[in-house]
């Protein structure tokens, strides 16, 4: 009965209810759109970072993340690779030999991480090959080939087929310089990543790392990093747990741990979403309070009559609260529907921000954003509307139960 009365009361003042419903719906729409936009951005940022830089998981010697020294290689890399080969969740795996060094030309020098990769395995994990924008990928025959980022090449003022010298320390600590020929230039869209890395063939790099003073200490392979790409990001945790259990002597990290900026980015986005939702709620609260106060004041005499004939305060209070919630319950699906429609329409083409945001690429953000709406977002927004309506209803409801029936009935 209370539900029926509350529901019908909404439609007594149709224009007023429509206005408030429409404004809530518009707010929800805007909010859904903004949140889906930031979700889309986060999602693509993370997927890009996984694909281009971190893969899902990486295995290292525990010392390696502190100090990228040659001696921190994975001594039982074979076992790790074997074990990964048996996991169905794993899509691709690549071993890497890594050393800190410097790449220089006659015109400049740059401190980099020299990454030795297995040309074929690497391309299945990071798509390095597909990120080459000039020249080509490693060839079969030549040993001393290097792939630089386009930015590094610009800094060193070198082009394709030019020579660069890479300098690093081998296992003995002896400074070694090796000449490489530039075969390709890559660009991932992430400036920090691009500037910090050069790629060479793993076998070549490895041969220069071997100790000449104590040849007996040389391992068969210098594998410093094993990067693992999964079929599905959801499978990350179980695979990580299994690896940690089998290889207690190694450090297994996922992309979040590897890339502090992803976590930072995610928490920033979460914060800005919270701020958006709060602003949205505040803006709506005033509109709703105003509408409901009008509705209560307009019905002062009727409310007085209801209390006179025996409708108690909790019921009157509930009636006003329900009315407000109904307004929200009509408006929220409307706004969410519009939000869904907008996201659906933008699904194929996305929103091209290249005109507005020149700097985005530097941080690994795509300039085309594909908004995403998740169930979680829908729920968040629905809850926000519910809470807003509930909060907004309290004052008018309080106003309603504070009235004294005798006075209300005498009002003309």
């Amino acid at each position: 009965m209370l539900l029926k009365i509350a529901w019908r009361n909404i439609w007594r003042s149709k224009t007023r209810s429509f206005v408030v419903i429409l404004s809530i719906a518009m707010g929800v729409w805007a909010l859904a759109f903004i949140l889906s936009f930031s979700l889309g951005m986060t999602y693509s940022y993370i997927e890009n970072a996984i694909r281009d830089q971190w893969s899902h998981l990486q295995v290292h010697h525990p010392g390696f993340s502190e100090d990228k020294l040659v001696k921190y290689y994975i001594s039982n890399a074979d076992e790790v690779l074997d074990s990964l080969a048996g996991m169905p969740e794993v899509q691709a795996v690549t071993p890497r030999t890594i050393v800190s060094g410097m790449v220089s030309s006659s015109r400049g020098a740059s401190g980099v991480e020299v990454v030795g990769v297995d040309p074929e395995l690497e391309t299945a994990v990071t798509h390095l090959e597909s990120e080459i924008v000039e020249g080509g990928y490693f060839s079969q025959k030549r040993k001393s080939e290097i792939i630089l980022s386009r930015r590094t090449a610009e800094r060193l003022k070198v082009g394709l087929r030019n020579r660069v010298v890479v300098t690093f320390q081998n296992l003995d600590g002896t400074i070694t310089s090796v000449a490489f020929r530039v075969v390709g230039l890559f660009s991932t869209g992430n400036m920090l990543f691009d500037e910090g890395r050069v790629f060479v063939k793993r076998k070549t790099l490895q041969s220069h790392l071997m100790s000449s003073e104590n040849p007996s200490e040389n391992p068969g392979e210098f594998i410093h990093e094993i990067a693992i790409f999964l079929h599905n990001t959801d499978e990350l945790l179980p695979v990580k747990k299994r690896l940690q259990a089998s290889f207690g002597n190694l450090q297994v990290q996922d992309y979040r741990e590897l890339s502090p900026d992803i976590e930072l980015y995610e928490s920033q986005i979460q914060l800005s979403n919270t701020i958006m939702i709060t602003i949205f709620m505040l803006a709506l609260i005033f509109g709703i309070v105003n509408t409901m106060l009008m509705a209560v004041l307009e019905r002062y005499r009727e409310l007085g009559m209801l209390m006179a004939i025996g409708m108690n305060k909790p019921k009157v209070f509930a009636m006003v609260v329900l009315e407000t919630l109904f307004l929200g319950m009509v408006a929220a699906p409307l706004g969410l529907g519009l939000g869904w429609l907008t996201v659906f329409l933008l699904k194929d083409n996305g929103i091209d921000l290249s005109a507005f945001a020149k700097g985005m690429e530097r941080f690994g953000l795509d300039t085309v954003v594909y908004p995403l709406l998740s169930t979680e977002l829908y729920l968040q927004i629905a809850v926000a509307v519910f809470v807003t309506a509930l909060l907004a209803s309290l004052y008018p409801a309080l106003k309603a139960i504070r009235l004294r029936p005798v006075e209300a009935l005498q009002k003309v």
């Binding site: 009965m1 029926k4 009365i5 019908r8 009361n9 007594r12 005499r301 009727e302 009559m305 209801l306 209390m307 006179a308 004939i309 025996g310 409708m311 108690n312 305060k313 019921k315 029936p405 005798v406 009935l409 005498q410």
Partner: protein, 227 residues
Amino acid sequence: MPIIEAHGLTKTYNPDKVPVHALRGVDLTVEKGEFTAIIGPSGSGKTTLLNIIGGLDRPTEGKIRVDGIDLSTLTDNQLIDFRQKNIGFVFQSYNLIPVLNVAENTEFVMLLQKRPKPERERRVEELLKAVGLEDKMDKRPSELSGGQQQRVAVARALAPKPSFILADEPTANLDSKSAFNLLDIMEQLNREEGITFIFSTHDSRVIERARRVLSLVDGEIAKDERR
């Protein structure tokens, strides 16, 4: 036992500024089955007295017992429940809930009391027949005339079988035909079912129908006639 006993009721509005003595010591007893009119010039305190009897307002001084219960012992919230259970109200206007139809309005208080559905339905039918509106069950109040609305209000007030019905100028907004019609129904319910009515009025033609007439003048009972 009388259903209403009042002793030395006074009511003073604005006691600090410009005091208005709406009631100046009213003693009153109402027995079951009465059909009583409270009359008096405008401002004589009729509404004030009815509000105090109905537990809508509290006297400044004096005692009021309804069904043996001293109303001053009840809190505001308990008074709401007390009114719901014991008293039927008919006001001058704005009696009905506009978003409910006639049948729903009639059963409203019974719903608040959580009476079972079959009982409610039976009672609604019975009462709407008694007030001659059985063919208007599905109509909203706005589709009824003023007199019809007042008849629904009487039906609504009667539905939970209260000990008495208070009506403050129930005919004030009605033309004389509708007023007589409403009076007929009230009289009939009083005569045939023993329902106690206490109503205030200005209307001399209505006064003639009452069996007891209390005349208020300046907040005091000037005359108490029984006929």
